[in-house]
Every structure is written in structure tokens, then in C-alpha cells.
């Protein structure tokens, strides 16, 4: 559970290495190549069919990680837009003496234009360097997954995997900690059943008085008797019962299902000539 992908939401370099996701130095030296940053066994294989050179293999079962035959890969980038997880990139470390290019899927509007300078980000979304857009490819077969190629200093080729989306040049401010004045409410005042305005305190009292089920709570407090028929609050009441009594899932039965499943006017309900 200490995996970076599970902790931080992106694969670390070590994880990518461990799962053999990074093409060899030799292959990078030959030109553009796909980097498939998919490290979890999930049931998915469109990438396999996306490569017309047969360079990507998933096979059976479909939770296999896609394997790249790097010699077959031409770095054409056809697979980038076909990956449902947007986890394939094309990296060209031979773009120029000092620069590399990285191609990545970019499903945000507005799209950057060729020649535009953008801010390249790494897998963690942190700005890495300035980048110049080399290419924006968005043919119909990409089905609204444009692929943007940016040129960046070579040393960032393994780090850059996207760009700050336009109109959001300043990444969202997460640190802001304005001190709001708020009333510290008695937790007993917290609403549980919105329809009938039943509070945590009401339900605690009902449980203390002997309610042992959702129905028992409902009859004592009206929680779940209102318009939504407990669709919202029954889960919260279940948790409160569980916390208070130590009962678990199977010992807390569902409340009765009663018609109508949705409110219906009497005109419609009574509009039957058969009765």
C-alpha cells in the first residue's frame, strides 16, 4: 500500500522501472517511442488493437499489462489517443541536440496552437519548464482526444507528461487557509433526515430508548418517512445504529419497500376506470 500510484496518484520512476514500462536507452536513441505508463492489472486492451504495427500486446487475460515490443514501435503515436486511461505518451529524445519532445493526450479546451509557449508539468502536475508546442493532432479517429506534442529541454524528457491547461496558467491555489468564523454547532443538531428534519440527537435518543433497526428509528423519529422515503438518510441511520450497537451490515435489515416508488399525484393514481 506504499505504492506511489496509490498514495500520490501517479506512478513513480521506480514503479515504472519495476513494471518494465521504460524503453531502453538504445531504443530512445533511435527516435520516438511509446511509453505505456499503465502499471495496474485492470481489464482493458484497446491499446493492443490501436497499434497497426503489432507492437503492443495484452493477450489473455485482459488484465495483463500491455507489453511494448520496442523494435516494432515506430513512435507514430496512434496508441496515445486510443488509451482509455490516457496513460500512453510518445517521447522523442532525438528531436534535436538539446531538446526532446513529449506527446500527451490533452482533453481540455481551448487547445494550444503550434508555436505557442506553454508550461510543461510532470506526473504530479508540478510545473517543470517552459515548452513550445510542436504539434496538435486531433483527427476524427482520435474521438475528441487531441494529442499535443511539446518540445522541452532534453533533461526533462522523462519528467514532463502534460501541460497546465490554458486559462489555468496559475495552478489552483490549494493552500489558502482563510479563517472563517463559524458557529461550533452541537453535533446533536446535525440533520440526518432532510425531508423530515430529524437530527442526530433525535436518532441517538431513539437508539438509547431501544430502537434497534432502521424501522425502529423511523417509527420513533420519522427519519425516512418523508418525500424521499429514506433514500438519503437510511445509510446514515444504518451507520449510527452500527456505531451505537456494534451490529454490522447483515444485522441491520433494510427498511420496508413501499409503493409508490416515486411520489404520484392522486389524479394519476386514481385515474383508473377499473376500480
Amino acid at each position: 500500500m506504499n505504492d506511489n500510484i496509490l498514495q500520490n496518484g501517479y506512478p513513480s520512476w521506480e514503479e515504472l522501472k519495476k513494471f518494465n514500462r521504460i524503453p531502453s536507452h538504445e531504443r530512445f536513441a533511435k527516435g520516438p517511442v511509446a511509453v505505456i505508463e499503465c502499471i495496474q492489472a485492470i481489464p482493458c486492451n484497446p491499446c493492443e488493437g490501436a497499434c497497426k504495427f503489432g507492437a503492443i500486446c495484452v493477450g489473455e487475460p485482459i488484465i495483463n499489462l500491455p507489453q511494448l515490443e520496442e523494435e516494432k514501435c515506430t513512435g507514430c503515436g496512434m496508441c496515445v489517443a486510443q488509451c482509455s486511461g490516457l496513460a500512453i505518451f510518445v517521447v522523442d529524445k532525438t528531436y534535436s541536440e538539446t531538446q526532446a519532445t513529449v506527446s500527451f493526450p490533452h482533453e481540455y479546451l481551448p487547445l494550444p496552437e503550434k508555436g505557442q509557449t506553454v508550461t510543461a508539468v510532470n506526473r504530479a502536475g508540478e510545473p517543470v519548464c517552459e515548452a513550445v508546442v510542436v504539434r496538435v493532432v486531433n483527427p476524427e479517429r482520435n474521438d475528441h482526444t487531441p494529442v499535443v506534442t511539446v518540445a522541452i529541454p532534453k533533461e526533462f524528457a522523462d519528467a514532463v507528461r502534460g501541460m497546465v491547461r490554458l486559462g489555468m496558467e496559475k495552478p489552483a491555489d490549494h493552500s489558502c487557509c482563510k479563517d472563517y468564523v463559524y458557529k461550533e454547532n452541537d453535533p446533536d443538531d446535525l440533520i440526518v433526515c432532510r425531508c423530515e428534519e430529524v437530527t442526530v440527537g433525535d436518532i441517538r435518543k431513539a437508539i438509547a430508548e431501544g430502537a434497534t433497526s432502521i424501522t425502529g428509528v423511523k417509527r420513533r423519529t420519522r427519519a425516512g418517512m418523508g418525500l424521499c422515503q429514506g433514500r438519503t438518510c437510511s445509510k446514515i441511520v444504518t451507520k449510527m445504529l452500527s456505531d451505537a450497537t456494534g451490529k454490522r451490515g447483515i444485522d441491520i435489515p433494510l427498511d420496508t419497500a413501499r409503493p409508490p416508488m416515486k411520489p404520484v399525484t392522486m389524479k394519476i393514481l386514481g385515474g383508473d376506470d377499473d376500480v
Binding site: 500500500m1 500510484i5 496509490l6 498514495q7 500520490n8 496518484g9 501517479y10 506512478p11 505508463e37 499503465c38 495496474q40 492489472a41 485492470i42 481489464p43 482493458c44 486492451n45 484497446p46 488493437g49 490501436a50 485482459i62 488484465i63 486510443q82 482509455s84 486511461g85 490516457l86 481540455y108 508539468v121 506526473r123 502536475g125 474521438d143 475528441h144 502534460g162 497546465v164 486559462g167 495552478p171 489552483a172 490549494h174 489558502c176 487557509c177 482563510k178 472563517y180 463559524y182 454547532n185 446535525l190 440533520i191 440526518v192 442526530v200 438519503t232 445509510k235 451490515g249 447483515i250 433494510l254 419497500a257 409503493p259 409508490p260 416508488m261 416515486k262 404520484v264 394519476i268 383508473d272
Partner: protein, 369 residues
Amino acid sequence: MEKREIAIIGGGPAGLAASIEAARAGAHVLLIDENASPGGQLFKQIHKFFGSKAHSAGIRGIDIGKKLLKETEEAGVEVWLNSSVIGLYEGNNLSVVRSTAEGKKIVTVQADKILICTGGQENAINFEGWTIPGVMGAGCAQTMVNVNRVLPGKRVLMIGSGNVGLIVSYQLMQAGADVVAIVEAADHIGGYGVHAAKVRRAGVPFYLRHTIVRAVAGENQEVCAAVIGQLDDQWNIIPGTEKTIDVDTVCIAAGLRPLAKIAQMYGVKHDFIPEMGGWMPMHDENMETSVCGVYVAGDTAGVEEANTAMDEGRLAGIAMAEALGYIPGEKAEQRKNDIRKSLESLRLGPFGERRLKAKERIIARGVAE
């Protein structure tokens, strides 16, 4: 009273897939959906689907929905839209509030076979301020953005890092909002790594072992900030770890549970299966419940995802057509086995194996009382 061979309640991925299979086999199928268009969650799912080619992988949910709609039409499925099933009564009698040119009217439909695929419902959590405008279910936010094309807010806090929390965060950003953070009570991200990587790359931080403490109302009585805090081993907030974050929207992605009230009211045997969202109707390997002729599929038969829902729908559709004599036993068995294999493949791997085991347990247990 109207009579039909098959009535399918809910036109989401499971219902559409089932109706196509059964109608193609020759059965007269009535599909009832309470929305203006069938498709259920598919029309909210603007992302490309996972799975294999047979599961339309790589195609966006919304386009799969369009394809299925076309197929239902071609297969001759009768579709009642804006129509709600309000009850299921003795004798397989469905009470339906049907939309007609003259307005809504109540109709009783008696069907030989009934498939209940009404989907799942979002779980609520309550914290101080959860009733303030601006706090909503993630699914609700997704509907606003992708169906109604309304941005619920500009600065969003997402509670929950399962696939729903991750995908909705991504789609809110695509629609022009900022997702300020994703908060997760567990010690790891719940959804697929590739979904997490998409939002992380866009600069969204994750707060693991954290939860929302309160939503704060501004002068306009709508959300203006949220307070989050770190959890200890007993799931209590550690004092002093609270952070206040400026947001105008708080989305709750605290999981789903099967919505099976219609099956429950009809006396279908239920059991508590934590891996599938809790209480759910029991079913056999044909998706038939303890009540003969009543089937379940999709999230109603345990919360999973659209691909498994479509497969379960197909399975139920073939099983119902077979039971009505439209598909010979041997041929039906072969097709059902293919689907069962396909379902199994979707439930492999670290994200699927708990569901695979749960489904195996459900089927082994059987539906007999």
C-alpha cells in the same frame, strides 16, 4: 391491463443490452425508463470505456449509449419514456405511470418475465453543513455538467477517490472548473491509477486519511469554504490538523449501493454483500432471482460498472428469451457461457477480484429460501 412477454425496468446499460438480446431472439420486449431518453448513466459518461473490444472499449460511454439505442430500435423494442414503475404487485403486475400524448396515466402491465435494472444510488454522508446549497453527490454534479451542461461551481472539493470521484473530478475540470483537492478517508486512492494520474497531472492533490469536517456557508448561504481534517486509526479527526479550503462546491463520492426497492417490495430474497454495496437481491447464474420470472442485472444486482452491467443485461436477456422458448437450450447455454466468461475477465485483477469472489459466493448460495 396490458400484457407483455418481457418488461424491463430501467433503460441503462443493463436494460438496453438485455432488451436488444431478447428482442433479437424474437420476444416482445417493453422497456420502461423514467427519463426522456434511455441510456441511464451512459449519457453522463463522456470518457472512453475500458474493457475489451467486445465491450466497446475505447469508445465513450455516450457513444455506446447511442449505439445501443439504435440497436434497440432496430430490434423492435417497445420503449416507454418519461414513465415510472411505481410498484410491482402479485401476479407480475407492474404499476406504471406512463407518459402519453394526453398526459400521464396509470397503466398496469402484466409481464411473463420482468428484469429489474434500476441501477444504484449514491450514498450520503452527513457532516456539518451538508445541507448547504453547493454540497451535492458526485453523480449529481456529473449529471449537471454532462447532461444539463451546467457547471455546479468553479472551485470544487471532491470527497472520495474511487473511480466515480476521480472521473467526475476530471470531467468537472474539462467543463472548466478547478478541482481544489480530492479527499479520501482510506490510506490509499480507491480508483484506477490511470484515472488518478489524469487528475494528478492536472495539479489536483490528494489528501489521504482525511475527511470533510464541515462545509461553511457564506453570506449568500451557499458553500464558500470547506474544512478538512486528518483521521487517526479510530477514524476520528486529529485535533489541530484541520485545514480550511476556499471552495464553492463540495461533491460527495462515497460509493453507491444497489437500488432494488421494486425487487424488495416483491419479496425477492436479499442478502448483505459488502463488496457489492450492501443489501442486494440474490440471483442465480441466469440473473434470475428467488421469484421465478423476475431477473436483476447491472448495479441493482451489485454495484460494479457499465461493462459488467451490459454483460449481465445480455445474460438476463438471453435467459429470459430462452425461458420463453425463443432460443433453444443448447444454443442459449453456449451464448450464456460466453458472456459468463467475459464477465469473469472483467472481474480479474486487484480491482475486480473481490467482486468476482462475491459473485461466485452469491451464485453458489443459490436463490432458494
